[in-house]
């Protein structure tokens, strides 16, 4: 039993290794030194406090975005709408911070902003959920459409109600900020903030809901087999909507992390942040488990921070994209790994 589970977890690990090897080959072909590149990335991300801190800054929304996608997947739903939910959550948190009296203590302010993001992102997830439950509209289309609606609507709201020079909202008051002098000093001036605690709590919450509560049992049952769930007396439609709400809420909190931690304001966005799409990859890399999502996010963030180092070596940063894509491919095609392993076993071990 245990060994079986272990080998299941080996698949992403091997995929990551294969992806890095493939990336190395591309670098070699293009005339770069992969050892130096990976060495620099490692050195930067793990040994240089500033970049470690910045990596964490990237990790935070990524974990939450990955959780959002993974949660939906567990409930049998495909949420491509994280981008939109994230924008709405971002705006909801920043708007709340700006509208509440700045003098409120942090213990009220920050939870209030995060709750606003949960509600905002949740509603943005709720709508496709409702449309699917009520009208059987395919969630892939609605979530794509909702992304664009979120992009334009949040921009318009910022322009109309929260505009500050520089095409953004004003800064949130310090009482709503997740940043701290302690982390700033610890990481030599990076933007690392307490959102990492929020993200980790998010991971625990997802694990707890799905695996420890009867509601989670229901959500998973509906995800795997709606017919049997209906037979067993579960309200399939309500669960579908709830799953989408929770998924959207995670995405919304991811947005809040940008607003309360990374930037302290919201910009008028010309395009999507990309965090939602990365979240899909992270969720799949992490086999839709909380812990896996955390590991996947670390890998992604490390590679993204590493881009800065690669640029300094003159390696086009798009190579990182390619490596990430290859890793995803290898994870997806995990059968290739099993297949190879079985081949090797057959050759090596002979008949049982």
């Amino acid at each position: 039993m245990n060994t079986k589970r272990l080998s299941g977890a080996m698949v992403p690990v091997i995929s990551v290794l294969l992806g890095l090897i493939a990336g190395a080959i591309i670098m070699l072909i293009s005339g770069y030194n992969p050892l130096q590149a990976y060495g620099d990335i490692f050195q930067m991300v793990f040994l240089t406090p500033y970049y470690s801190g910045e990596t964490v800054v990237t990790i935070i929304p990524l974990i939450l975005s990955g959780l959002s996608v993974a949660f939906a997947f567990r409930a049998g739903l495909f949420n491509i709408g994280v981008e939109g939910q994230l924008l709405v959550g971002w705006l909801a948190s920043v708007a709340t911070a700006l509208l509440l009296p700045a003098g409120l203590p942090k213990v009220i302010m920050i939870p209030a902003c995060i709750i606003a993001a949960i509600i905002g992102g949740g509603i943005w997830g709720f709508i496709p959920g409702l449309l699917k439950a009520r009208f059987k509209v395919h969630e892939v289309i609605t979530t794509i459409m909702m992304n664009y609606i979120a992009l334009h609507t949040t921009n318009a709201i910022i322009r109309k109600y929260f505009y500050a020079e520089g095409e953004r909202t004003p800064n949130i008051p310090d009482s709503a900020s997740l940043s701290s002098q302690f982390l700033y000093n610890l990481t030599a001036g990076s933007r690392m903030h307490w959102g990492i605690i929020v993200a980790l709590i998010g991971a625990v919450v997802m694990w707890f809901i799905l695996w420890r509560t009867s509601k989670g049992y229901e959500l998973r049952a509906v995800g795997f087999n709606p017919d049997a769930s209906l037979y067993a007396g579960m309200n399939v439609n309500r669960n579908m909507v709830l799953s989408f709400f929770i998924s959207g809420a995670f995405a919304g909190v991811a947005g809040a992390m940008l607003g309360l931690g990374t930037y302290h304001y919201m910009t008028i966005n010309q395009d999507f942040t990309g965090i939602g799409f990365d979240g899909i990859a992270v969720a799949l890399l992490g086999l839709n488990s909380s812990f896996g999502v955390i590991l996947g996010s670390i890998l992604f963030a490390a590679l993204e921070t590493g881009e800065i180092g690669m640029q300094s070596l003159g390696i086009p940063n798009d190579l990182v994209q390619v490596i990430i894509a290859l890793i995803i491919f290898f994870v997806a095609s995990n059968y290739i790994i099993r297949w190879t392993r079985d081949r090797l076993k057959k050759k090596g071990g002979g008949a049982k």
């Binding site: 293009s30 495909f78 491509i80 449309l131 009520r134 009208f135 059987k136 509209v137 395919h138 892939v140 289309i141 609605t142 794509i144 459409m145 909702m146 664009y148 609606i149 334009h152 609507t153 921009n155 318009a156 395009d271 799409f277 899909i280 990859a281 799949l284 086009p316 798009d318 190579l319 990182v320 994209q321 390619v322 490596i323 990430i324 894509a325 290859l326 995803i328 491919f329 994870v331 997806a332 095609s333 995990n334 059968y335 290739i336 297949w339």
Partner: protein
């Protein structure tokens, strides 16, 4: 403006912007009808757009003149098909989760093309402009027909007709030929097809390759009729819209075409809206989101449930029960 004047602006423009979506959505139909989900349409369009730009420039360079964009379309279809084989290998041979593999295609396409653009054009993030585009024309004779002439035969690119004709061709192929029957059979019930001696993997490879060809074509058409060069942001979301059009159109080529035209129409309507006096007072955000809201309303209101091909997304493993 009179209604006719508005339509004369809106309809040709809707058809033009719908064209890449139609082509790509048709590709999606092929792939999903064969049982392979293709989230990677965006990536296939990116590849096509890249090839469309690079090869038009190359062909112009070697003196092929006005034929350049047309030949580039051909190359884009071929390379698109070749690139999509990655998705095919992963999801058919190696039983990958097809959604994941599609997402990987999207990442990979963007990474590789931008990387190559930089390699090819001295560090530049985008290609130069192409000189020879596929232009919008007035179809001789036909554009003089009253009413429909100005709407459907003026200010239109031949690629749009090609896309529309292709939609009918794909429909014909899928529903009237033995190839189509076989392709659909492996998407509905691969085991049944297998027992009748149909090579499930081969049909699925073909389905995916055709989606690559059409997706590549879609991306290239976008470049040679609209964008005129290629950069990282040239294709941003069009592939996802094509995916939506395919689902909206219920996996039917003609439905997909209708949905893509609907998207195009909604967008051009929202653009012309700003010039129509009584719509002018509406804040522009409403017009910006109108196409997406309309789509959702249309789906919820009268399109309703659509059933995907039954075996779509499920790897076929011989002999598994």
């Amino acid at each position: 403006m009179t209604i006719m004047e508005i339509l004369e602006i809106v309809i040709p423009s809707a058809i033009l912007s719908a064209t890449p979506l139609i082509l790509t959505a048709l590709g999606g139909v092929f792939s999903e009808r064969s049982g392979v989900v293709n989230i990677g349409l965006e990536g296939l369009m990116i590849i096509g757009a890249f090839i469309g730009a690079v090869f038009t420039i190359l062909f112009e360079h070697i003196g092929l003149g006005a034929a350049s964009p047309w030949l580039a379309l051909l190359v884009a279809a071929i390379i698109g098909a070749a690139f999509s084989l990655l998705h095919a290998v992963a999801s058919i041979t190696f039983r990958a989760d097809q959604v994941v593999s599609g997402v990987a295609i999207n990442f990979l396409a963007l990474g590789i093309t931008v990387f190559l653009v930089k390699k090819l054009f001295a560090g530049s993030g985008q290609t130069p402009y192409i000189d020879h585009r596929i232009n919008k024309i007035d179809v001789p004779l036909l554009h003089d027909i009253p009413i429909i002439g100005p709407l459907f035969f003026s200010n239109i690119a031949y690629t749009s007709y090609i896309a529309i004709i292709l939609a009918f061709v794909v429909w014909y192929v899928l529903f009237k030929t033995s190839f189509g029957l076989r392709l659909r059979s492996v998407g509905e019930h691969p085991a049944a097809a297998d027992t009748l001696g149909i090579n499930v993997s081969r049909m699925r490879y073909l389905g995916v390759a055709l989606s690559g060809a059409l997706g590549g074509l879609g991306g290239a058409v976008y470049v040679v009729t609209i964008a005129t060069n290629f950069g990282a942001t040239t294709i941003s979301g069009e592939g996802y819209l094509a995916l939506a059009a395919m689902i909206f159109g219920k996996w039917n080529p003609l439905g997909a075409m209708g949905a893509a035209l609907f998207f195009g129409f909604a967008q051009s309507l929202s653009i012309i809206g700003e010039s129509i006096p009584f719509l002018k007072s509406i804040p522009d955000v409403y017009l910006l989101i109108a196409p997406y809201v309309l789509t959702i309303l249309a789906l919820a209101g009268f399109v309703g449930r659509a059933d995907a091909p039954k075996a779509s997304g499920v790897p076929y493993i011989k002999g598994q029960r």
